[in-house]
Symmetry: C2
Subunit: 236 residues, 2 copies
Amino acid sequence: MPPSQQGGALPLYLQISEMLIRDIAAGRLVDGARLPPERDMAKSLDISVGTLRKALSELESHGLLDRRQGSGNYIRSKATPEGIYAFFRLELVAGGGLPTARVLDVARMQKPADLPCFGASIDAHRIRRLRFLGAQPAAVEEIWLDAGHAETIVAADLSDSLYLYYREVLGLWITGYEDQVGLSPCPGWAPPEFGQPPGAPCGLVERQSRARDGSIAEVSRNWFDSNVARYVARMR
Amino acid sequence: MPPSQQGGALPLYLQISEMLIRDIAAGRLVDGARLPPERDMAKSLDISVGTLRKALSELESHGLLDRRQGSGNYIRSKATPEGIYAFFRLELVAGGGLPTARVLDVARMQKPADLPCFGASIDAHRIRRLRFLGAQPAAVEEIWLDAGHAETIVAADLSDSLYLYYREVLGLWITGYEDQVGLSPCPGWAPPEFGQPPGAPCGLVERQSRARDGSIAEVSRNWFDSNVARYVARMR
DNA sequence: AGGAATTTGTGCGTATGTATC
DNA sequence: AGATACATACGCACAAATTCC
């Protein structure tokens, strides 16, 4: 039986791409896995090759699929410049170094007034982290996640990639964001381990992240040591 | 006769989208213009509707076309975050303000050693500009354009959007770039009109721009006054 | 208000080109 | 060189959104 395409349902090609995304998030499709040939896959899904290709294009645009002519379609869900960590765009000046983070503090509170207006809830979770690139402390980070997406947050559950945590644990799919980069003094709560003392001039990345429904789910600020790291953006 | 699709030529749908882009850049298609219905357009171009739709999708992904079901396809070439000026990513902290620039200096010389390796030529054109957002001086800019793309450059010919100039005058189509944002002292050649004196801490945007063939055609550096402007990046 | 005409969106099937193995 | 697999291109039918009378 063909997948349903009645009523107000999503278009078929989006149903397929979302199904594949769920398979990736659930671990049924691991990084590097090769999908069956398009014709076989289309036949087993009982859809046309053209529709399947449109679904795969969606995945590709999300950076979750690597399409190689003459070879095959390969899942990409690991830490690559275009993968999961594409969202995190601080890189070592010297190059290299995988991004990791240590949670400093997690708390739920009312949104302070100086935050940009976002989300539906009055409350938000505040997460403060020290971010590393390789062994090098590179930035201190403060995240505000709208409380509508999670009742409570357990620090121990957080993975290095918060977006992965959002997707897998909270079912929250971040589809886009907007960054503003400027200069700002290092905040007072930065631990000594972070090279810059409070008040020192740091680069500041302010981010607003959007969920699939277009609402702003999360707001974050990253103060980075410009001697160590730089913000990187790639287009096209 | 159908458009040629032989040898190592571009795919047909890319030929069509590039033709439309040239029409937009040349002013033959103005902002807000409505294209003919897809079926008519496909017939007059002697291509299939599917191929035309793929070309239009390309334009849409470049932010140059607004597709409205039941209504039509509309050109968008005005200064919007996703439009022609999408490449220019400095914005006023206060918001608003159209980007313009005043050329300070144009010279052709050997590439200095401190530049990242780029382009095929030994020489490069150095363009220095003072950039404005509205009436506000926001950044000083130094551009290195590989000499392989132009024998000489006349300062008077440069438009506010260099990418427009590249496309229209040089036939050089910039398809992507990579930005690195950090902190750097204001350069000595910055004019007094730029708020920051030489040596003052400024934001620095280093850009490498790629041509369609994947080569790096241009390298630029923008020092911006973080009291006035911020670097902005949007994803998806 | 409402229905017909117009226009883009979705989906299918097929044939051929081209890169990879 | 041959087989495999993705990319491009064509054409058709119907659905959904918009516009117009």
